[in-house]
């Protein structure tokens, strides 16, 4: 078991930016072609997971390298 982190299911993301708006930690950014997740800033509040219209964000266990 590793640490928990937010993961994006890339093929489902519609690049709508709803998750960015509800992130209180400023850990998400939507560029012209992808969603960036700054894991160092993420507090795992899960707002983004709940707000995503396509449910394309999820929590998973990071496997330590």
């Amino acid at each position: 078991m590793g640490e928990k982190a937010i993961r994006l299911k890339d093929d489902l993301c519609d690049l709508c930016g709803t998750c960015v708006a509800v992130c209180p930690a400023d850990a998400l950014e939507l560029t012209e072609c992808r969603l960036l997740i700054d894991r160092a800033r993420c507090t795992l509040c899960l707002n983004c997971v709940y707000a995503c219209p396509f449910a394309c964000l999820e929590v998973h266990d990071e496997v330590p390298v």
Binding site: D14, C16, G17, T18, C19, V20, A21, V22, C23, P24, D26, E29, L30, T31, E32, N47, Y50, A51, C52, P53, F54, A55
Partner: protein, 389 residues
């Protein structure tokens, strides 16, 4: 492209293009940047606007309008339908053409428009925003400006970079999914709104006709209520139940802030407009016209501030003051109404629809409908009376 402008507008949606146009008309040199490859695409919007509001900012053109709308049908959870005819004509827009033309109007006023230009950060000088970092076709550029106007939508970063608190609570976001579909069998002279916990908890579903059997069919679910089931799952169920025979031409997701107005809309050298400033109407979620009205004021104030050589937060505060007078006060009231409406149960909504249909036709109005819904909350009826004159 020059290395310095008076005003840089980030985002070429309706608010951004309007801010750019009015800043340029006021004599400012303006750069309008858009991250996507084309202005107007993708469309993340139900595309409904009121004619009166739109006319405050721009003369409506026939090619922007897919369908003229005479009124609305509201469906209670039990299926009882209420018709609302208003004296304001509605339009279901073609946002692709609309957005494109608004950017073109900004360019005609003198603004330079640049697509495929993604802003990665703000240039700061002594605590004052002084331009942007830009990725454009593989190059990273820094472009200076006296003022940056953030019109970068619901996913806005511009305000956060300048230290403004633009984060939206889960309670105040509508998580939305929409399809544009053909073979939609519904009266296409009206917009249709469906309420109820099964349809869209903390929000509603809509059908906005675009003519020839095509319509935007979508829904918004309050972020609070989307914890257990995403908006898309609600929409799939709604389509299967109500419109099993439609063909889906386009599918989009989106977020609509239905929040109180932001405390701060400006900082030194920076202004926010549109969805970036959380200016959508908290009851309807409509944000095109409200964003454009704010953007017109912001563009005009920006041009004057540049001319005076003072882009301090204090000087730029003229924009939120004027906006508050014109739109913000009503926005506060709409927020209170939203909070009250979303507390209503399905039974309350059923009762409201039935009671409303018992009122004599000549007394029926949007205000009367709200008064029926909020019958136990006289203070809120007064608030409603101030926004539905």
């Amino acid at each position: 492209m020059k290395s310095r402008y008076d005003v840089i507008v980030v985002g070429a949606g309706p608010a951004g293009s309007t801010a750019a146009r009015f800043a340029a008309m006021g004599g400012a040199s303006v750069l309008l940047v858009e991250k996507d490859r084309e202005v107007g695409i993708p469309v993340r919007c139900a595309e409904g606007v009121g004619e009166k509001g739109l006319r405050q900012v721009v003369e409506p053109q026939e090619r922007w309008i897919d369908r003229v709308i005479k009124g609305a049908y509201l469906y209670a959870p039990n299926g009882v339908r209420v018709c609302l005819e208003t004296n304001d004509i509605g339009y279901v827009l073609n946002r692709k053409t609309f957005d494109y033309d608004l950017a073109r109007l900004a360019a005609a006023a003198g603004a330079q428009v640049l697509t495929k230009a993604y802003v990665t950060g703000l240039l700061m000088h002594d605590g004052v925003v002084s331009g942007v970092y830009l990725n454009h076709l593989g190059q990273t550029l820094s472009v200076q400006s006296a003022i940056v106007i953030g019109a970068d939508g619901v996913e806005s970063k511009v305000g956060r970079w300048a230290g403004l608190r633009t984060h939206v609570s889960l309670h105040d976001i509508e998580s939305c999914a929409q399809v544009t579909a053909s073979n939609v069998d519904i009266e296409d002279t009206h917009c249709h709104f469906f309420f109820g916990r099964q349809v869209a908890p903390g929000g509603y579903a809509w059908v906005f006709p675009k003519g020839n059997g095509v319509a935007n069919i979508g829904l918004g679910v309050s972020g609070d209520c989307a914890r257990t089931k995403p908006a898309w799952a609600y929409l799939e169920e709604f389509l299967a139940r109500r419109f099993p025979r439609v063909s889906v031409l386009t599918t989009v997701a989106g977020g609509v802030p239905v929040a109180r107005p932001l405390r701060r809309l400006v900082a030194n050298g920076l202004m926010l407009v549109g969805d970036a400033a959380r200016q959508a109407n908290p009851v309807s979620g409509g944000g095109i016209v409200s964003g454009m009205i704010a953007a017109k004021i912001a563009g005009q104030v920006a041009a004057r501030a540049v001319q005076e050589g003072d882009v301090s937060e204090q000087r730029l505060r003229e924009y939120p003051v004027l906006w508050h007078r014109q739109e913000g006060r009503a926005h506060e009231r709409f927020y209170k109404l939203k909070e009250a409406i979303w507390r209503l149960t399905d039974e309350d909504l059923d009762r409201t629809a039935e009671a409303y249909l018992r009122t004599p036709e000549e007394r029926r109005s949007l205000l009367n409908l709200f008064a029926t819904a909020l019958v136990n909350q006289p203070k809120l009826i007064l608030e409603a009376a101030k926004v539905f004159v």
